[in-house]
Subunit: 269 residues, 2 copies
């Protein structure tokens, strides 16, 4: 399917590792406050390979979770991951976000993480999901914002390499800067009482687990993942790219710093 | 004195109001955890018009605070502000950060807020301050980082207007992006156990007090303050400037968002 082929981060083994690193490193920061009452019916939309699904299942052992994704391969990985972790409260289903096989108000809560950034019409996606939620049920949306990234030392080439990721994602119809838009998107989709909170990751050498788990293995790995696309689209020349990536690693040295912000929005139907 | 004339934000009445708005809006975020034991001798370096001094005095009524600044006019305003607020635990003294009239280890703690951004050699400034602190005493540094700013909707002109503030400050020998450098600067100055934490301000229309107190009256007011300098230095043309400022205000409307991050570092001698 086109949507599979065009996923900006691809479907490689390294990417699967990156997603797992990202989920583990950021689990507390992003998900500590996603706790649903026992018995809740929760729809996870765009579960991918299940990196967030295991966290959701662990934090909500008495919720009944239905996780959908458009990619059969990803779903198979997600299912295996959740089974390996020993959770039995998740069902998996292949489905398109805009054509979900559920009736109106079938769920108490909807959860989506790193999904809207890849969707061409994020407000329409939220509207479609709103119909799945009962009155006073909630939607929880977690997204990054690559425009929130900066580092020290800073160089033009590092910024240009990161911009390639933003541009490649834009060419695929996505928006890598969607985090800052969560509040207006939730309002546009007709949700009420939206509350958005930033979740900033600040990294210096006093936090070595973040230097490895976030700066290198999550963020720089994600930028490196679009190398071929960026070069073949002519967004950057190879020398600038190599220098940009080297400069990103330079900012992970003992006198460097690295910043990035995720956004989490919760709103009611 | 040259240092007075060249203060990037100037010394106008509007600027004094802006500093007060900024201090009130951000007081909790930036200063809630600056609490010194009773009897502590605290040096506040670069107190300006006392916007932070009153907060420091209020939170530490039993500390003995000495606040210094290079500007006699600012000191007079600071003294009046602190007296009007009824605090009696602050002494004021005119002095240069690099030539302080105190002996080695005269203080238990040093505090500086929005000072390093204006200093040409911030690591040397921290080294000079380190000599004022006793062994195991602390330094607390609070700085902004204008490169951490972004908004929605975003436009090229808004970014260029903000960049003018960064560029004007750089021409005066300052660094408006110093926040991200606090950790390496503290290390370079020889402080130990540095711990830096970001203090992010996220603004959407569900937080009207921040729309007014931060986005408009602190940040946009600060950008607007360099209009004449930016135009006369040829950093931007008038049309682009006006559009940039209008776009910044656009991001304070109900469907806009606004982000900025301060950094706070605490380290021991």
């Amino acid at each position: 399917m086109a949507a599979e082929i065009q996923y900006v981060h691809g479907y490689s083994a390294r990417e699967a590792d990156r997603l797992a690193d990202q989920a583990n490193t950021l689990s507390g920061l992003l998900h500590h406050d996603t706790v649903y009452p026992p018995g809740s019916r929760v729809l996870e939309c765009g579960c991918g390979t299940g990196a967030q699904t295991v966290i959701l299942a662990a934090r909500n052992p008495e919720a009944r979770i239905v996780s959908v994704d458009i990619s059969a391969d990803s779903l198979a990985q997600a299912r295996a991951r959740v089974e390996a972790a020993g959770y039995r409260n998740v069902e998996f289903l292949r489905a398109n976000l805009f054509d979900l096989p559920f009736g109106e108000a079938s769920f108490d809560h909807v959860f989506l993480c790193f999904v809207l950034e890849h969707v061409e019409r994020p407000a329409a996606a939220l509207e479609a999901l709103k119909r799945m939620v009962r009155r006073n049920g909630t939607v929880t949306v977690v997204e990054g914002d690559h425009g929130s990234w900066y580092c020290h030392p800073r160089t033009e080439e590092a910024s240009r390499a990161v911009q390639c990721l933003v541009d490649v994602q834009a060419r695929l119809g996505g928006d890598a800067l969607v985090g800052r838009r969560l509040y207006p998107l939730l309002a546009e989709a007709g949700f009420r009482q939206a509350r958005v909170s930033p979740r900033m990751v600040y990294v210096d050498s006093s936090r070595p687990e973040l230097v490895e788990g976030f700066s290198k293995n999550t963020f720089i790995a994600m930028v490196e993942g679009v190398r071929e696309q960026a070069l073949s689209l002519g967004l950057i020349d190879p020398d600038t790219w190599e220098k940009g990536i080297a400069d990103l690693y330079r900012a992970t040295e003992p006198d460097g710093t690295f910043c990035y912000t995720f956004f989490k929005g919760v709103a009611a139907r």
